[in-house]
Symmetry: C2
Subunit: 196 residues, 2 copies
């Protein structure tokens, strides 16, 4: 397959991560989620580099320190930037599936990127979170609403308001047809798009 990077965004409990893994297997390409991206970022020294650079700034004069103090990025921003660099490195290097981390935004405008969104009705998501993920909550509806809000807030903080808008994605799919069938259909779309 021609070099292609597939970004997967998803609602919590939609099975998006499972679909992404299955898709990567089907296409025989790499799979990266937030955890893996952090790991790669650490290994590549991206976060260390940031820490060191910020530490160096702290060795300046008190006045400079006070001035620059407000410019030191919070840890979450540093991690996001490190992950974004890894995403861009991956884009330059190999075909892969990247889950979350605003990868669609990080790679916006780049050719050979296919953006996919996985949805599922609230009832199906509650079912999956409860019985498959084994997560505990007093009220699963509230639990999932909070998870959704946090995901949207993350995107809006680091990217823009394009999360969950059909125009942002090449394909969005309700995963109620099943994990494997969803992955199959996405794989087929990708093959049509890439021309193979």
């Amino acid at each position: 397959m021609k070099k292609t990077v597939i970004t997967i965004s998803r609602e919590y409990g939609s099975g998006g991560r499972l679909i992404a893994k299955k898709l990567a297997e089907e296409l025989g390409i790499g799979y990266y989620d937030g955890e893996l991206l952090s790991l790669v970022a650490k290994e590549s020294g991206y976060t260390e580099e940031f820490v060191r650079r910020n530490d160096q700034k702290k060795t300046q004069s008190l006045l400079y320190h006070l001035y620059i103090g407000s410019q030191i990025l919070p840890a979450s921003d540093m991690i996001f930037i490190a992950q974004s660099r890894v995403i861009k490195d991956l884009y330059n290097k190999e075909s892969c599936v990247i889950v979350g981390r605003c990868a669609d935004y990080v790679l916006r405008g780049c050719p050979d990127v296919i953006n996919v969104f996985i949805t599922a009705p609230l009832e199906s998501r509650i079912e999956r979170v409860k019985n498959e993920y084994g997560e505990q909550a007093d009220n699963y509806r509230t639990y999932l609403t909070k998870k959704d809000k946090s995901r949207i807030a993350y995107y809006n903080y680091f990217a823009d308001d394009a999360w969950g808008k059909v125009q942002t994605y090449d394909l969005s799919i309700n995963s109620d047809i099943g994990i494997d069938k969803s992955a199959d259909l996405i794989a087929q779309y990708i093959k049509e798009k890439v021309g193979e």
Copy 2:
């Protein structure tokens, strides 16, 4: 195929109507767009019934007339209500593909309804509107932006703000893979969903 109604929403110039027609052919079921729905509504006497009912109200006392005057619906509302009734009749009667007219909203909560959205990048839409639809405009970008806004305004007026949100649809697809291939992929999704 088990009785299923497929609603198609789309961006102007995405080829959504062509895809919907092709899809209806592929599945061997009826196809209805706004024009056809109006025709059916007229034939069923829905709009006439509305006009007559409102006319009857006008035969009441002047005071009642003044009171009721503000309650007479504008023509566009009457047409929308008539079309919505036709959509519900169709839903009760047969499998079909319905394009636009907030059909996803009219049938929200009904089982056996599959909602699909067709997108396309602005450049592809300009190309299609210019060369395939043969429409004239000084500035196609402005022309399409206006068309988009008018479509969203129509939906927001008669329905709610769910237009173009991935959660509203079972499937959304960027039609750049081609009209036939898009229709094929949607047909496949529907068969998976319906279980055939």
